[in-house]
């Protein structure tokens, strides 16, 4: 991961020297550099004291249990350096937001070199954010979305979000319909926390966008082989329980597991109002579970004000409870150990989200690069799941709604 990032950085710096031959006629021969950035300053309140509401599972904490008001749910800062020279261009983007270890250490979000083979065909090498769902790759730029954050039910549990590799985008048209077809392949190796890593290999995927006037549609599919050591102590003990332990470990251990994500989304935005709807499905064949998610949101634009409402839900496509090891016939000390292991498995399975959320909010475009948003949500984990909440405490009441209030200031420059 570091190596490819270092490579792209080197190429970006060398580009102006080596790409002179590719300069298009009539364009200045000097490389064009551009620095831009984005960010969100936010605060979130959650009514529950038994778990934290957060925007992603890859966070240390959020609002609710850790503190009633949290700045960590939505606050982030991103900076991007673009360089262009004729048909070559490069992009380097770093984003600082709260991580699993609680720090705000910046992460390299984008780092790639693009070669525009023809006006319609582009090739890229380096790191890209995965183009899954309607806007997974721009979800961190709060200014570009109407709501405070993309729905956590849909975007909160992506098993992987970036790919180090290559991709190509081909633009074409059928009558007034404009198409962009993107194909990508790569791998990723991400540091989660204290040396715990999540590795995805053989990432391949396709994203197809269609635009016609106010209508936009996107279909995407991606798959990979996933490896991570999450729960490995549990699985090591489980395998000590003979064949039935082995079967359970094989079912849930994240070792060379096939993951897949598919989605279909549309938006219609004639200016005075808009509606967005999307559904998707993720599968991991492991303790990360799998689910079907959907949301629909709509808003009205009245001058600088955009009131909006939305509904989102996710349900599990796999059982979120498992009877685990059979305790009959085990000597008492072993039965006690097996019981603890079964509880451990079910603690993991309870993190597979089943949840629905109603939301309503107001966006105020205070200036052409600043938006202030207020949003109220009723988040309801269901079927004994903790939903998308984290740091759940034993006193978390199942199927009990959590009320969330958010204020966010988004900016771009």
């Amino acid at each position: 991961m570091r190596l490819s990032a270092a490579f792209v950085t080197c190429v970006l710096v060398c580009l102006p020297v080596h790409a002179h031959g590719a300069t298009a006629a009539g364009e200045p021969a000097a490389a064009a550099w551009k620095l831009s950035g984005f960010g969100t300053v936010g605060a979130v309140y959650a009514s529950s004291r038994s778990a934290d509401f957060t925007a992603s599972v890859l966070r240390a904490d959020g609002a609710g249990h850790t503190r009633a008001w949290s700045p960590d749910v939505d606050s982030r800062f991103g900076a991007q350096l673009d360089v262009g020279l004729g048909d070559w261009s490069g992009v380097l983007q770093v984003v600082s937001e709260q991580r699993l270890d609680g720090s705000y250490r910046p992460e390299l979000e984008w780092a790639n070199i693009k070669y525009q083979l023809t006006p319609d065909l582009a090739l890229r090498a380096g790191r890209i954010a995965l183009p899954v769902f309607l806007g997974a790759e721009s979800r961190k730029v709060g200014y570009t979305i109407a709501w405070v954050r993309t729905p956590v039910e849909v975007y909160g549990a992506l098993p992987i979000s970036s790919s180090d590799g290559i991709d190509t985008t081909w633009r074409w048209s059928t009558g007034a319909m404009l198409h962009a077809t993107q194909v990508f392949a790569g791998r990723t190796n991400q540091d989660l926390h204290n040396g715990l890593r999540i590795k995805a290999e053989h990432i391949v995927g396709l994203s197809h966008s269609m635009e016609r006037g106010a209508l936009g549609v996107r279909l995407s599919a991606a798959g990979a082989r996933l490896n991570t050591a999450i729960g490995q102590e549990l699985f090591a003990i489980l395998r000590g329980f003979g064949p039935q332990g082995g079967v359970l470990a094989d079912r849930y251990e994240i070792r060379n597991k096939r993951v897949s994500m598919i989605s279909a989304g549309m938006s219609y935005d004639p200016g005075a109002w808009f509606v967005t709807a999307e559904c998707g499905r993720t599968r991991t064949d492991s303790l990360l579970g799998g689910g079907t998610s959907a949301y629909v949101g709509a808003g009205l634009r009245r001058g600088a004000f955009t009131p909006y409402v939305g509904y989102a839900q996710v349900r599990a496509d796999v059982p979120t409870r498992d009877p685990g090891l059979a305790l009959e016939g085990l000597p008492p000390p072993l039965a006690a150990a097996a019981g603890q292991i079964n509880a451990g498995i079910n603690d993991y399975l309870a993190t597979i989200p089943v949840q629905s959320t109603w939301s309503a909010g107001l966006r105020w475009d205070a200036a052409t690069n600043i938006a202030l948003k207020l949003q109220l949500e009723r988040v309801r984990p269901r079927e004994g799941s903790r939903g998308t909440l984290i740091n759940n405490q034993p006193d978390l009441r199942p199927d009990h709604a959590v009320h969330v209030g958010s204020v966010a200031l988004d900016f771009v420059f």
Binding site: G26, K34, S36, F38, G78, Q80, D82, G84, V91, Q93, W110, N112, K114, P119, D120, R124, I128, A129, P131, G135, E137, S138, K140, V141, Y143, T144, T169, R171, S173, A176, L178, A180, E211, R212, G213, A214, P270, G271, A272, R301, A304, D365, T368, N369, A371, V412
Partner: protein, 145 residues
Amino acid sequence: MRAPPISVRRLLAACALAIAAADASAELVVVVSSRSPVGPLGADQVAAIFLGHASRFPGGAQALAIDQPLGAPQRDGFYRTLTGKTPALLKAHWSKMVFTGRGQPPREAGGDAAVRRLVAENPAMIGYIEREALDPSVRAVLVLP
């Protein structure tokens, strides 16, 4: 006691004049170089080029959009008429494009004369100017109401 109605009437008359003037100046034409082979374009085709969704003219030739400066009435009117987007929505659109590495907004030129000069010199370019600024160096491919 009589003064206010008169001044209100004057104010209304002044407003009507201002609106008429704004209307006249708001008539925009989308132009290409007079040397360009590009024929008349539809509003959707022009919108696709200026929003970065299309990089070619319908005939297949490369298209490079030229914008008026940020805050110029021509620019605001052009996008409002063509796409229904306010300056804030356009900023959001281009932020999405830029921060996902998909493209950069059109190059800007300072006013009708500067746009006309750039477009006249390069058959790949397409811009928009007020109708009164038309001259034989450029050709209108779309008239915006």
